[in-house]
């Protein structure tokens, strides 16, 4: 058993046991099951687990109606094609949207790093950039919605085939877009807090009213990466299938 002395933020030393034995040690100990994990972070992980079940239910429901509906399912490659420079390119908009969202995860991860380094300026810039990526994702989603609506696709009807295509599309991308929009708002709030130095002074935070340091940026990041990961599944199951 490799024991090493680790000092936490407040200067106390905590013995850490490596590997699987460490998990057993932590869970059989008192006070905390996840050592040195702030309450907000633990809460975010558990919330995301719960949210995973929501998206899983949406996607499984979509797969089930898709396999049991009586009319033909439209081909997503054709529906989501854009004509650029006289050429029809399948899924081009979705590809750009996916690229943007994954890039935003990159800037988010960097924001977390610079946050822990207490580099307020760069952290703020990165958070705002992440929020802008997110906002442009939502904007393109809105463009895609309006394009489909123009082509006659509605939640209750679809000229291209199964009505469930429209219902699932608007419901699932809508629910995901709602998550992204909430994320953008929260990103801007966190960016403002970083800029003002609230996290340095451990001012009581928003939403939970608990005091928080720069782990608040990381917690925000957990949510943002989750929203990104969910999009990958929606992309795979809805657009590529």
């Amino acid at each position: 058993m490799a024991n090493e002395a680790v000092v936490d933020d407040t200067g106390r030393s905590i013995a850490v046991v490596e590997g699987l034995q460490g998990v057993v040690t932590d869970w059989s100990s008192d006070q905390q099951a996840f050592k040195r994990v702030p309450w907000g972070k633990a809460m975010m992980w558990i919330f995301l687990l719960s949210d995973t079940f929501i998206f899983a239910c949406f996607l499984v429901g979509y797969m089930m109606v898709r396999s049991s509906t009586t009319s033909a399912w439209p081909n997503p490659s054709e529906v989501f094609a854009l004509t650029l420079f006289g050429k029809s390119i399948p899924l081009i908009l979705i590809a750009i949207m996916t690229f943007i969202l994954i890039s935003s995860s990159g800037t988010m991860a960097m924001a977390v790093k610079f946050g822990y380094e207490k580099n307020r300026k760069i952290t703020t810039i990165l958070l705002v950039v992440t929020a802008m990526f997110g906002a442009s994702f939502v904007g393109m989603q809105a463009f895609e919605w309006s394009k489909l609506i123009e082509e006659g696709v509605r939640p209750w009807g679809n000229p291209m085939g199964a009505t469930q295509f429209g219902s699932c599309f608007f419901m699932i991308t809508g629910f995901h877009g709602f998550h992204v929009s909430i994320g953008v708002i929260f990103l801007l709030i966190v960016a403002r807090k970083v800029w003002k130095g609230d996290l340095e002074n451990m001012k009581p935070g928003f939403f939970t009213t608990r005091r928080g340091g720069y782990e608040v940026v990381e917690i925000m990041g957990l949510y943002w990466h989750f929203v990104d990961l969910v999009w990958v599944f929606i992309f795979a199951f809805f657009y590529l299938w």
Partner: protein
Amino acid sequence: MSTIAHDADDFVAPAEIPEMELYHPKTWLGKYVFSQDAKVIAIQYAVTAMGIGFIALVMSMLMRLQLGFPDSFDFINPSVYIQLVTMHGMIMVIYLLTALFLGGFGNYLIPLMVGARDMVFPYLNMLSFWMYFLAVVVLVASFFVPGGPTGAGWTLYPPQAILQGTPGAEWGIVLMLVSLAIFIVGFTMGGLNYVVTVLQARTRGMTLMRMPLTVWGIFMATVLALLAFPALLVSAIMMLFDMLLGTSFFMPAIVSMGQPLDHTGGNPILFQHLFWFFGHPEVYIVALPAFGIVSDLLSVNARKNIFGYRMMVWAIIIIGALSFVVWAHHMYVSGMNPNFGFFFATTTLIIAVPTAIKVYNWVLTLWRGNIRLNVPMLFAIGFIFTFINGGLTGLFLGNVTIDLPLSDTMFVVAHFHMVMAVSPVLVVFGAIYHWYPKITGRMMDETLGRWHFWITFVGTYAIYYPMHYLGFLGVPRRYYSIEGTNFIPESAMSLNAGISIAAFIVGAAQLIFIYNLFISYSRGKEAGGNPWEATTLEWQTADTPPKHGNFGKSLPLVYRWAYDYSVPGAEKDFIPQNVPPSSVEKGTDETNQ
């Protein structure tokens, strides 16, 4: 004699987390209405839940009026009857039991029992209650809209739930689904609190395997709820869209009242899968806190440690995990692939193993105990009886071949009322009699409590035993009237009348309980800090009732598990969790080895 107690240790690890900051309200409103103190929130939850639960109790009385004495009451027509069935079921399962066990007992007991000053996020906790309150308001509003509340049955199966002809198909169903969605959002806020508090905010010395089983039961039930409610939320959203936007998630092509509807190609079975993926864990969301609480009541009043503590904990965890892979045993007759029946019957019967372990351990806890037959203990022992009865009929219904003829008969009604209605409710009563002295500082009246228990307990059997027989006769559930049905003998009618009379007596007996609740608040005997001589931390607080922050100046240190009763060699027959081994008073009796 070597050790004085199970795994007790004088060593306590240093504090890893700083003291929790408490929010101190300055106004009356902030102290009693929008309070962020878990104990006040707990009482708000409990009072709201019991209030709406009482309405649901009255509804069941109205149903029994109709079933026992058909054609005697003009105000109960078929529509009203099915609306009563629906709202009674939904309120009792979600708005009473879930809210009371998790929001009520969870909020009050988790911080006290694990040695925390409050929940980790008091502000979210406050929001959680007010969301729940809003959900209840929306639910109650559905009684006053045109068409009344939904009459789709508590399972809300589409297509019928949103078709013309079903009572409440215009407004009632919409309000029902919206109310459920609000409830889920509110519950999630509270549930995250309970889970993080148990995992991350225990006091020094409180390991997971020293926690009282009450906390284990509520904790695991909360985990189940956080993972099961999403399925209900999704099905509620999809059904709202079917209803309001005209989508066809659950609606196949259908002809209603001679008119073909616009829906096409939807899948009603999908709703049943989603609903029961929530619905079955929901049974355990209600049952696991009851398991936990009853374990503690039995141990305290038998003056013995709970038998097989580790097995009890693992049984809770295993039951929780298995509850997610049994849902389709509610759907044997739904038309799903019959091969699923084999899988789901098998998993269902496997759940009987950890459940039986728990029942054996409860009985073995009683064995040769120094039993104090007070009111909470009566309710706890009553629970063992009703739970075994309901559990055994569950084995009948878990088997596909037996379920098919019994499906949708009164046998099912009798089964689930025994196992997940009366059993948890008996525990709720036991728990209230047990913790009332801590919450108010006064004991509840013992005589009234005994009357309440015996009428409720005997009445339960008078109501539900004959109902099993009605089920065997083929009397269907949810039917407004069974008159003129050739295969049901006339005697079934007299049996129904008898059941109704028993139900009225039991219903009236609950007034004794409510009277007791109120009268004891001012006139009850002074309780003192630890009237039951219990070991867990909530009985060791500086003040009774505990003040904001729970434990006075310093948090308790925990040296032992929660079940040091009748420890050989110790002078008293209980050692609180916060007493270090070195300061346990040794008895002089040499025979205590």
